[in-house]
C-alpha cells in the first residue's frame, strides 16, 4: 500500500496546500513575506538625554502573523510603548527594518502607514476643542458622508450611549474613561488590517476596565485583522493568542498565551486586574 493511501483525505489536502505554499514562495519571494502581517527586524531606538545616549530598544525582532491577537507586555520603562509608536510611524527607529504585508515601510510616515492599514489608539487620548465625537469618527472612517447612525454603532460597541456622546466635543469635559472608549471607537471605525492599542486600561476606573475587556473580547471575535495591545494587565493577557515580553529594550519571551502566561504570572509583566482599582481608584 502506498504512502498516500495510508493517510486520510484531510491530511492529503493539507500536504498538498503546504507544497503549493512552498512553491509559491519560491516563485514570488516578495509575497512570501505576507506569511507575517508585520515583521520587525533588528529594531533599535536610541535617544540622547542628559547622561548621553540612551538605548530604549536594542535589536528587537518580531514576526506577527495575520489575524492574531497579540499582547506585548513587560515591566514599565521596558520599551513597549516605544515599539508600538515605531510600528505606527510616530517614532522613527534608529536602526532596523519594518515590513508590513511584505512591504518595507521603515521610511514611511504616520499618514502613509495609516493609509496602508495601521491604526493606533493612544495611551493618553488627545483632546480637541471644537471637534465633536461625530467629526472624529467621520475622519477616522475616511467617509465624509458617514451617517450619525453609523457613527453611533461604533460608540455602542465601546459601551457608550451614542445619543449622549455623538455631538459632544472631544475636550476636557469628557472623563478619562470616556475619552479612552472614544479613542477605541475611532480605531474600530477605521477597520484596519492592524490595530494597535497602547495601554488601553491606563487611567480608567475598574468599572470601565471590566467593560474594556468585554470590548476587546468582542473585537477578537468579530475582527478579521491583527490586534496588538500593549498591556500588563492579566485579564487582557488572558484573551491573547500570543504574548510577547519586552524587558530593557529586548524581547525576553514570545509564544502562545498558554505557554508564556504561566511563566510571567505574578511578575511586573502580568498584573492582576484589581491592581487597576488600587492605582487608578480615584480616576473617572
Amino acid at each position: 500500500m502506498g504512502f498516500y493511501a495510508k493517510i486520510d483525505a484531510a491530511r492529503r489536502r493539507c500536504i498538498f496546500f503546504r507544497s503549493l505554499k512552498h512553491f509559491y514562495k519560491l516563485i514570488c519571494p516578495k509575497e512570501a513575506g505576507k506569511e507575517y502581517m508585520l515583521e520587525l527586524k533588528n529594531i533599535t531606538y536610541n535617544v540622547d538625554d542628559e547622561q548621553g545616549k540612551k538605548e530604549i530598544l536594542n535589536g528587537v525582532s518580531l514576526s506577527i502573523p495575520d489575524g492574531k491577537f497579540v499582547v506585548i507586555t513587560g515591566p514599565n520603562g521596558g520599551g513597549k510603548s516605544t515599539l508600538a509608536k515605531i510600528i505606527a510611524g510616530i517614532y522613527q527607529p534608529t536602526g532596523g527594518q519594518i515590513l508590513f504585508d511584505g512591504e518595507d515601510i521603515t521610511e514611511k510616515g504616520i499618514t502613509e502607514r495609516a493609509r496602508s492599514g495601521i491604526s493606533f489608539a493612544f495611551q493618553q487620548p488627545v483632546r480637541f476643542k471644537g471637534i465633536e465625537v461625530y467629526d472624529l469618527l467621520r475622519l477616522a472612517s475616511g467617509d465624509k458622508d458617514m451617517t450619525q447612525g453609523q457613527a453611533c454603532q461604533y460608540l455602542s460597541e465601546v459601551g457608550l450611549c451614542a445619543r449622549d456622546y455623538i455631538n459632544r466635543e472631544v475636550d476636557a469635559s469628557l472623563s478619562g474613561g470616556e475619552l479612552k472608549r472614544i479613542e477605541i471607537a475611532t480605531v474600530l471605525a477605521r477597520k484596519s488590517k492592524l490595530s494597535i492599542f497602547d495601554e488601553p486600561e491606563a487611567g480608567i476606573d475598574l468599572w470601565s476596565f471590566t467593560n474594556l475587556i468585554r470590548v476587546f473580547e468582542a473585537i477578537k471575535e468579530e475582527t478579521k485583522g491583527t490586534i496588538i495591545i500593549i498591556s500588563h494587565q492579566e485579564r487582557i493577557l488572558n484573551i491573547a493568542d500570543e504574548i510577547v515580553v519586552i524587558e530593557r529594550g529586548q524581547i525576553r519571551r514570545q509564544g502562545p498565551k498558554e505557554e508564556v502566561l504561566p511563566e510571567i504570572l505574578g511578575s511586573d509583566s502580568a498584573v492582576p486586574g484589581c491592581h487597576v482599582q488600587k492605582e487608578q481608584g480615584g480616576m473617572h
Binding site: 505606527a88 504616520i110 499618514t111 495609516a114 493612544f122 480637541f128 475616511g142
Partner: protein
Amino acid sequence: MQMDAIEKRILEEVAELHGMPQGAYNIRYNGEAQARQSTKEIEITPRAEGSGIDIRIKDGTVNQSCCIPVVIAKTGLKDVVTNDFYIGENCDIVIVAGCGIHNCGDQDSQHDGLHRFYVGKNSKVKYVERHYGETDDGTRGGNIMNPLTEIYLEEGAQMEMESTQIKGIDSTRREMKAVVKENASLIIKERLLTNGTQYAESRMDAELVGENASANLISRSVATDQSKTTYYSNIVGKAPCHGHSECDAIIIGEGKVLAVPALDAAHPDAALIHEAAIGKIAGEQLVKLQTLGLTEEEAESAIVEGFLK
C-alpha cells in the same frame, strides 16, 4: 428685486440666503436700502435721523426671524449705519445680520455698523452675525469693518450672540457692550480668523447689574501668517451674579495674539471666572489625526475648522 451674482454670493456667505428671505427683512446694498419687508409682528422703519432702521418686535412674538444683511460691492465706499432693535416681552426670535464687502478697486471700502438691542422681560433672542470680505485679483483696496453692538437685557431676558469673521476683512475693531439685569443671561460666541497682514481687535464689556444675572463671553481666534488679533474682555459684577470669559487662540506661522481679560467683582457675591489659552496647534493633535490617515496639512485644517465651528 434684481440681484447680481456678486450680491447673491455675498448674501449666501453672510446670511446663508439663497434668494429672498422669509418673514421680516431689510437688505442694504452699497449704502442704501434695497429691499424691505415688515410682518404683522415685526415692523421695520427707516430711522428718523441718520442712516439705518428701527426694528420693533411686538410682545409675545415667537418662532419668527428677522434678517438684515448688508452688501457693499463698491470700492472707496464708507457706509455708516445704526440699527435699533426694540424687542417686546416674552418673545422668542432669531435675528440674522452680517456684512459682506466685495472690493473691486484700489480704495478701501468700510462698513461701520452700530446695533442696539433693547430686549424686553423674559424674551429670548438668538442673534447671528457674519462678516466676510473678498477682493478682485490684482486690486489693492482694503476691506474694513467696525461693528459695535450694545445689548440691554431686562429681567429674565436671554440673548445668545454668534459673531463670526472668517475671511477677507483686513482690519476690524469690534466692540460689544452689555448691561444684564436680574435673572437675565448673555452668551457671546465670537470666532475670528485672520491671515496675511490682517488686524482684528475685539472688545467685550459686560456689566451684570441684577441678582442672578449671568454672562458667558467666549472668543476663539486663529491668527495665521503675519496677522494680529487683540482681545479685551471686561466683566463687571455689581450684584450676586455669574460671569465667565474664555479666550482661546491658535497661532499659525508668524501670527500674534494679545489677550487682556479683566474681571471686576464690585459685589461680594459676584462669581467671576476667566480662562485663556494661546498657542500653536499641539503636536499630539496633529499626530492623532495623522494616525487616522490625514496629512499634516489636512490635520491642521480639520483642527482649525473644528475650533472655529
